[in-house]
Symmetry: C2
Subunit: 321 residues, 2 copies
């Protein structure tokens, strides 16, 4: 095979996918497994290597045909050292796990890059999605949690260790009593992302708002993004308040990104964007309400375009950085 390919691996708590793409971003082959996350980490790495080899074999390519492998992982990453600093979505926690070295032992001679999943999605959007043609952008994923990735002058801004772009954990309500998984109070993530919808639902009940869909403090745990969306459509005032407040927090977070980085574009992705136009419009309105006369050229806000395989494609794209 004369045309070189790029390989992406998306390592999440639920599924583990590997795929080969052409350098224009078109998919060549893909495979997914779901039984990895309970394993010891050395075994997870072995599963990844097996998955990559399997995809290569079924596509009829060898290591020489592949420019490199990009791995996107929902974790704190030490980019330069190729290490996972810590994770939370897997059965076995790890600290400073030398991921790239471990995977290299299974796939000798192949270039391997490990990065945070939001960084990978940011780079995928920059190369093949809504960020094509831009040079300075921020990608924000609003989903179970909130993450982000920053492109400055056509390159990922990773910072000293590689944790730059963690916009979800920036504190936006210094007096909040809503605690995030990170241990802090008032992070954007704790006030706006899906993981906290049950807590927020209970908080609204406690404040005296009435659930019109029969949810109580005991049953609020079922209020994930989909349930909140359904509840909002059914006219439940708590679901509406949660969605509106989430949009406001995301909008103010975009303003903080604007003040810090003055990017050309912010791209919004992640599951909660399926709340639709009402959600996106409210985010934009909140953002604009902060700018007053300080913004001489408008910062664009767009929806992500790379879709369901954003993490995979983004991971593969890192090989081309």
């Amino acid at each position: 095979m004369s045309e070189k390919l790029i390989c992406g691996v998306d390592l999440g708590g639920t599924k583990l996918s590997a795929a080969l793409f052409k350098t224009d971003g078109s998919l060549v082959g893909k495979d997914t497994i779901y039984d990895h996350s309970d394993k010891e980490w050395d075994d997870i790495v072995a599963s990844i290597a097996g998955l990559v080899k399997g995809v290569m074999k079924s596509c009829g390519v060898t290591a020489e045909d592949v420019l490199g492998i990009g791995v996107a992982c929902a974790a704190h990453i030490h980019f330069k050292k190729g290490m996972i600093v810590t994770v939370s979505n897997f059965a076995h926690n790890i600290y400073d796990y030398p991921f790239v070295d471990k995977l290299s032992a299974h796939l000798p001679g192949m270039k391997i890059i490990l990065d945070n999943d939001a960084n990978a999605q940011a780079f995928g959007e920059f190369m093949f999605g809504a960020g094509k043609g831009y040079h300075n952008l921020v990608f924000v994923t609003v989903s179970t949690g909130i993450g982000g990735g920053i492109i400055v002058n056509d390159k990922m801004l990773r910072g000293k260790v590689g944790t730059a772009g963690e916009v979800g954990h920036s504190i936006i309500d210094i007096d909040s009593d809503v605690k995030c998984t990170c241990g802090n109070y008032g992070c954007a993530m704790a006030l706006a992302s899906g993981l906290f919808f049950p807590d927020l639902y209970r908080m609204h009940l406690k404040k005296g708002l009435t659930s019109t869909i029969g949810i109580t403090a005991d049953t609020a745990d079922q209020m994930d993004g989909k349930a909140i969306e359904d509840g909002m459509k059914a006219g439940d005032p708590i679901c509406r308040a949660i969605v509106e407040n989430s949009a406001d927090v995301v909008g103010s977070t975009l303003y903080n990104i604007y003040k810090m980085l003055d990017p050309e574009l912010v791209i919004l992705g992640g599951g909660l964007m399926s709340f639709g136009d009402m959600y996106m419009n409210r985010i934009k309105e909140r953002f604009m309400s902060h700018t007053h006369e300080m913004m001489s050229e408008e910062m664009e806000i767009k929806l992500a375009e790379t879709g369901r395989d954003a993490g995979l494609l983004g991971a593969a794209a890192l090989v081309l950085e």
Copy 2:
């Protein structure tokens, strides 16, 4: 003269200085005037040109000996266009004023760079101060207001227009009822900087705290940084609360900078740092209290080193960028 010099101009609401430096940052000559800020902008520009020519003459150098002129201005700057978007510390407001073109007309053939004063100070600290030898840092000035400048890979991060680094206007208390000069509520600047100390003093009085130095709502306007520092030393509980809360807000702001950019170093400058070790230590403690186990390599926090002429030196340094 064989050794080339760099020229810095510091254009503030109170004073206007111009100075020549060697490229190692050592001062060659300097002049300052104080009667500029009531003038029309074309006349301010003429004053700057006169001041620069005067310093050059008294140092015995010609335009050929000067690599360029960097101008630091306390304003919103459109960097690429060399324009002042808007100012607030001068008698005459302006919008999209073509500053570089205007000054060039007085100083033909000389390279002129216009930037925000906090960016200039950031670059000065990077070249000659606490940031020497670092590649990725953020400078934050805590003073009458709060401003900042960002260095990524040895270059200023300016963003699309040039307003990046405005950390003071990032919103850190989304539910705050303290209004900033920018029009928003709950900016770090409104909760922590000198300009708002009278408002904050009145707020604490209203909440029921007692002034032990005889300040009332009517006399709170005199509570600038110096008065707050004196009051704290005299044991006034409101002054202490304002200083402690300011440190907490700055500490949380540094955490947000860390989450966004993961820099090697944050440099703190500006008048309020004269509050001393108690203030700096509380900022650091607050910062560290947010990091939990997410920080695998410590971000350094240092005091600025370039001192009283930080703006001037920083402006001149921009010529070497």
